[in-house]
Amino acid sequence: MDKDIDVILKKFKPGRREELLPLLQEIQETNGHLSEEAIVKAGRFVGLSTTKIYGVATFYDQFRFIPSGKVCLKICNGTSCFMSGSGAVINRIREETGFEAGQTGRDGVFSYEITTCMGGCHHGPVLSVNGEYLTSVKPEQIPDLLKKLKFIIEND
């Protein structure tokens, strides 16, 4: 992981603040989160204090500071999906997993995020798992879905 960050940094020009976000985005995409090390290195690279880097990164929803789960569910909470009942689905996921959106379970299996309209409004609520879409999701489906995903992960 150490190396990854340095490899990524090589692609950018040092000392340019406008490169900060693309740089952090790439680290986030590669590692799934921004570690303290990443923040320190990015700070040194761009020439800003880590306080600033952390301040900037926490402003944006994209960045996480703990690793995401092996499976990350994305639940659409756009207006149409909300009207079709995405709230209940989110509640159910929260109850089943026991943590909030943006967090990761202790076993590191799941994390989930809430997004705005994904474009499948007519088929809402929409949920995506590792790039696969599920449509017209009902809260009742959640326990089984999570069980199935966990099984797949653990037997992988």
Binding site: L21, G55, F59, K74, T79, F82, T116, H122
Partner: protein, 644 residues
């Protein structure tokens, strides 16, 4: 391939005359697949289509074992139909009109293709035939342009969407693409291009309606070494999907629009501030930019005009407020995306302190058309003060949700009832919500409202970026307002007090309206009522004093809901009743002694331990403790739990 590029560059892009010689046109027809002796199958490929299963359809078609398949051309196109038609497929047999089928999921592929190749067309999923291609007509099959969805729309900005392969710049050029840009850089000065756009009367499509040409001129007339153009493809509204659809279906036109706009203000670097969570759209956009570079349409000294242009795509890192101009600039500069004070306005001092023009995707999509067809053509559409068309993404409970483009001046009624087909499943229309989280509710009586910047503003409303949510009677207005308020509360940047604190307070008060506190006496009811009274003051002060548009418009959904649906609020507050029966917090649960078997299932699951009883005796619910979550209702196998 290189021959094609050479041909398109020399004979089309660099052609001096507006009309091309017939032999060139003929070639272009082939590229446009208007002259083809192979069957062509078009499959929709946008995110919406993928969600509905188009990728599976695609591989099913690929694997189709029928005898004709080898000679069949398969094309991924963008989208042009309602979301409920996804995934759609168009089939064009040689010499015959294109047929449009809807909801072709993988299992339907084989029977459909079996039928088609034996001239046996399944009527079930058929929408109609395209009537404008000058090919043989299918007898007895309706023309899709006559269906309200197409007939009542004016698809100009969306003109190319769903018609061609968005990954092929060749097809785009064959459809007249990039000729406007070439014209601009070879024959017009910066100022002339601004003037043409100014004359056309084009106004910013992000909702404000600010005259685009004027904005460009302000930037152009600010003396400096460099200027920037930013295409705002952030699409912040939680329920909108127009920009994404455009990017997925016609990215080349956007690139051309950006190129022309950059030229008009003398910018040599343009940024696209791109909405996150749209990998498909991002791929298409990057592809379009790469192929434009390949064609020498971007880069250094574009086709010897002396003009240089780079387009840089930046993915938005996730914050609603970054759609606001000054916040967007902060983000591009690598700062927290907090809005800044204006003045100075970005057109004078924006990105890196340089004059910067920020335009919406739809605004820029209009630009190549205006350059090509002239300002008069543009003014011939729409109303006097709002010429042109407007694209909406219609969602919610509309029967035919999707991206819809209408001429300015069209009424909302026509848009919602005629084009979008009214409400799904025969329910009643309650309201139309325009402008997303900062928008307004419009009740059925007011649907005659014309779509026009000034008319809408005079009514005290705002058009927004094009999100339109159709609300039916099964939706609780209070809960929907709360939904918007929660969204805004989370997305406020937190910089200024009225917005940061105001949205939190409003959300808390709305929460108290849709949830029942554990113990309530009449005093608490009064408190709650006082809370709602305070909401109005808070809302007014937020509008009056917030730093940026987000805070200024945050109270809109609440205020307009209160105006139009006051009785629904009162019911919630005083009668503790939700007429749409959605506010879980207001429901009362009780156990039917007759039916309860005393199985204990409910009691063990109640999260607040509100259910008591002895095994095999009827159980009961302590109303004061119950939060109305409804879990017991779902659990009870004997239907012993009653809801009121």
């Amino acid at each position: 391939m290189d021959d094609l590029k050479k041909f398109l560059t020399e004979k089309v892009l660099l052609s001096e005359s507006d009309t091309l010689p017939p032999e060139t046109e003929k070639m272009l027809e082939v590229i446009r697949r208007e002259k083809t002796d192979k069957p062509v199958i078009y499959i929709s490929s946008g995110t919406s289509s993928i969600i509905a299963g188009s990728e599976k359809t695609w591989s099913e078609v690929k694997n189709y074992p029928g005898e004709n398949s080898k000679d069949t051309e398969l094309v991924r196109v963008g989208c042009n139909g309602p979301l409920s038609y996804e995934p759609f497929m168009c089939i064009q047999l040689p010499g015959k009109n294109k047929l449009f089928f809807r909801n072709i999921t993988e299992e339907k592929v084989e029977p459909l293709l079996n039928g088609i190749f034996h001239s046996d067309i399944s009527e079930e999923d058929l929408v109609g035939q395209h009537g404008n291609s000058g090919f043989g007509i299918w007898q007895g099959i309706p023309f899709i342009d006559e269906l309200p969805w197409f007939a009542l729309q004016k698809r100009v900005v969306l003109g190319n969407c769903g018609c061609y392969d968005p990954e092929s710049i060749e097809e785009y050029i064959a459809r007249g693409g990039y000729r406007a840009f070439m014209k601009a850089i070879r024959h017009y000065t910066y100022d002339e291009v601004c003037t043409i756009v100014e004359k056309s009367g084009l106004r910013g499509r992000s909702g404000g309606g600010y005259p685009t040409g004027l904005k460009w001129k302000q930037a152009l007339n600010t003396a400096t070494a460099s200027r920037y153009l930013i295409c705002n493809a952030k699409e912040s509204d939680p329920g909108a999907f127009t920009d994404r659809t455009i990017l997925e279906s016609d990215p080349h036109r956007l690139v051309e629009g950006i190129a022309i706009a950059s030229y008009a203000i003398g910018a040599t670097t343009a940024y696209v501030f791109f909405r996150k969570d749209s990998p498909v759209a991002l791929g298409k956009l990057l592809g379009a930019i790469a192929s434009a570079k390949d064609y020498g349409l971007l880069g250094h000294n574009i086709h010897s005009s002396g003009y240089n242009l780079d387009i840089i795509v930046r993915a938005e890192p996730g914050a609603f407020v970054c759609g606001e101009e000054t916040a967007l600039i902060s983000t591009l500069e690598g700062r927290r995306g907090m809005p800044q004070l204006k003045p100075p306005y970005p057109a004078i001092s924006g990105l890196f302190g340089k004059p910067t023009v920020i335009n919406n995707v739809e605004t820029l999509m209009n630009v190549p058309l205006i350059m090509q067809n002239g300002p008069e053509w543009f003014r011939s559409m729409g109303t006097d003060t709002s010429p042109g068309t407007k694209v909406f993404s219609v969602g919610g409970k509309a029967r035919l949700a999707g991206v819809i483009e209408v001429e300015m001046g069209t009424t909302l009624r026509s848009l919602v009832e005629d084009i979008a087909g009214g409400i799904r499943e025969g329910k009643e229309l309650k309201a139309v919500q325009m402008g997303g989280a900062s928008g307004f509710f419009i009740t059925p009586e007011n649907l005659e409202l014309q779509i026009d910047f000034d008319i809408i503003r005079e009514k005290g409303l705002s058009m927004g970026a094009g999100g339109l949510i159709v609300v039916d009677e099964q939706t609780c207005i209070v809960e929907l307002v709360r939904y918007y308020m929660e969204f805004i509360r989370n997305e406020s940047c937190g910089k200024c007090i009225p917005c940061r604190e105001g949205t939190s307070r409003m959300l808390e008060i709305l929460d108290s309206v849709i949830r029942k506190p554990a113990n309530e006496d009449s005093g608490t009811t009064l408190e709650r009522f006082k809370g709602v009274m305070q909401l109005e003051t808070i809302a007014t002060v937020m509008k009056d004093t917030s730093l940026c548009g987000l805070g200024q418009s945050a109270p809109n959904p609440f205020l307009s809901a209160l105006n139009n649906f006051r009785e629904e609020f009162e019911e919630h507050i005083f009668d503790r009743k939700c007429r749409a029966n959605v506010c879980r917090g207001l429901r009362t649960f009780s156990i039917d002694v007759e039916k309860c078997t005393g199985c204990t299932a409910c009691a063990s699951k109640c999260p607040v331990n509100a259910i008591y009883g002895t095994r095999l005796q009827p159980f009961f619910i302590v109303e004061e403790k119950c939060t109305g979550c409804g879990i017991c209702f779902d659990i009870c196998k004997f239907s012993a739990i009653k809801v009121k």
